[in-house]
């Protein structure tokens, strides 16, 4: 049986009195791709920030490989639990400087061959290394953001709607890349997506969240035949 890479025990989180996450209990299994689906405002992105140590729960416990998250050094934790956000924020500078950022923060330089390989893997041409990152299109930025997260070679990868602004071909390329990394390195992947077909196609497991609660979780096939009435409505597209 797979060990939990990240485990939540009765986790609650609120901002200014607004309850964002309510009593979340569940696990993301090591080496698996878990897709996270649910309507907007369900608390999915916030859950990611808790996994990455960018936020701490009000109550409950988060365990990373069986140990409370607090025992890990925040910097080490974030290097091992990488996150690629939907916003794909870039810092001022070239594509190379952005790609190199995880290493330059450690006082290291990126190997140019490795940089080109990463760009190739995410479907970007390697002749854009010197281009200003802010001049890239939304889709290119998202690809670069994924490549940048991979530079740290994280053990767990949190992907927040990373294919939302990509065309079908690019989406397919990224899906293949994620599956390849998962198979090759055994990286645990948690992927927030609004695309239920993608969630079913890519995910080994699925979590369905609504209004800050984990409604249903298990094998991704649960999306074909959900037990909970709210999830049935969501899958039918009756809940946005």
């Amino acid at each position: 049986m797979n060990q939990a890479a990240i485990e939540f025990q009765h986790v609650n989180y609120s901002v200014d009195g607004l309850h964002i996450l309510k009593n979340i209990t569940g696990s993301f299994l090591e080496g698996k791709i878990t897709t996270l689906v649910g309507p907007s405002g369900a608390g999915k992105s916030t859950l990611f920030k808790l996994c990455n140590g960018l936020r701490s729960p009000d109550s409950g416990e988060i365990l990373i490989k069986g140990k409370p998250i607090e025992v890990y050094d925040p910097v080490e934790l974030r290097r091992n639990v990488g996150i690629a956000l939907q916003s794909a924020t870039m810092v001022k500078g070239s594509v190379l400087e952005n790609l190199e950022l995880p290493l330059s923060l450690q006082g290291k330089e990126i190997d140019l061959e490795f940089a080109r390989e990463l760009l190739h893997d995410v479907g970007l041409a390697d002749n854009i290394l010197e281009r200003n990152a802010k001049d890239l299109s939304g889709g290119q930025r998202q690809k670069l953001s994924i490549a940048r997260t991979l530079v740290n070679k994280p053990k767990v990868l949190l992907l927040d709607e990373i294919t939302s602004s990509l065309d079908r071909v690019s989406q397919h390329d990224i899906e293949e890349l994620i599956e390849k990394i998962n198979e090759k390195y055994g990286t645990t992947m948690i992927w927030i997506t609004h695309n239920l077909d993608q969630a079913l196609r890519i995910g080994h497991c699925t979590w369905v969240m609504m209004n800050g609660e984990l409604i249903e979780s298990g094998d991704s096939s649960l999306l074909m035949n959900p037990n909970d009435k709210r999830v049935q409505d969501f899958v039918k597209g009756e809940i946005e």
Binding site: P74, V75, G82, V91, K92, L101, L105, Q106
Partner: protein
């Protein structure tokens, strides 16, 4: 200057009042308040300084400096109200600047240790530090607010709080010190500084007036750079907690 002559200077207040009235600018009330406040405040400080100079007692000098620091803190803290503990950070900065500049001036005997020198120079140092503090805090809070995504990005990639806020900090330090450095480049060409002009009008030797003005300019340069850097390095840690999480600015 006699009081009669001084009262004639009010012509320069009448001109904006008449213009405001004619053009319906609505500046009359503020102009009158500013005029009355400046007369009362400056006359009061003139009499206080006269007394302090005559008594020549260290306690009064310290009290005057503390008063300046208190007023400067009160004024600047509004601009940094969103930063936790800004009041004591400003006090520490102003005290440090004052101690630093007076230690150099008195330690190297650049100026004599008399209230006539210590108090006016302290006023310029603390006043300039206050303006710099306001400029810095204004820019820094705006930078932090508008670049939250960048700050969190660097944290998510395993950066430290100092790395996450570095660009915002450096940008704000540079932006707040630019006016001081730029104005020094054109000094004497575009404008004659107030203190030097005052000395020349009062009959002092222009070369000596220039020497004192240079002293003040160099002090103000130090004040500008040290104020921004100190406030920056005192302020940024309060934006993060011990788990290296980015905290929102106080609303």
């Amino acid at each position: 200057m006699s009081y009669l002559t001084l009262s004639l200077t009010l012509i320069f207040v009448l001109i904006p009042l008449i213009l405001s009235r004619t053009l319906k600018l609505g500046l009359e009330k503020d102009t009158l308040i500013a005029t009355i406040r400046s007369i009362v405040q400056l006359l009061a400080v003139g009499y206080v300084l006269q007394y302090v100079f005559e008594v020549d007692n260290i306690i009064f000098i310290v009290l005057m400096i503390l008063l300046m620091i208190g007023a400067a803190t009160q004024n600047a803290r509004k601009k940094g109200a969103t930063i936790h503990g800004i009041t004591w950070k400003l006090i520490v900065t102003f005290v440090f600047i004052e101690v630093l500049t007076q230690s150099i001036l008195l330690g190297f005997q650049i100026v004599p240790p008399t209230p006539q020198y210590i108090i006016p120079i302290s006023g310029m140092v603390i006043g300039n530090s206050m303006v710099l503090g306001i400029l810095f805090l204004n820019r820094f809070t705006a930078e932090v607010e508008s670049r939250q995504d960048e700050t969190e990005l660097i944290l998510t990639l395993g950066g430290t709080p100092k790395q996450a806020i570095h660009t915002q900090l450096i940008t704000s330090i540079k932006a707040s010190t630019i006016p001081t450095i730029e104005s020094q480049k054109t000094i004497g060409l575009v404008q004659l500084p107030g203190m030097m002009s005052g000395q020349i009008i009062a009959g002092a030797d222009p070369v000596q007036a220039v020497q004192f003005q240079l002293l003040i300019l160099f002090i103000l340069l130090t004040t500008a750079v040290v104020t921004s850097i100190m406030l920056g390095f005192l302020s940024y840690p309060t934006l993060f907690n011990n788990r290296m999480q980015f905290l929102k600015l106080k609303s």
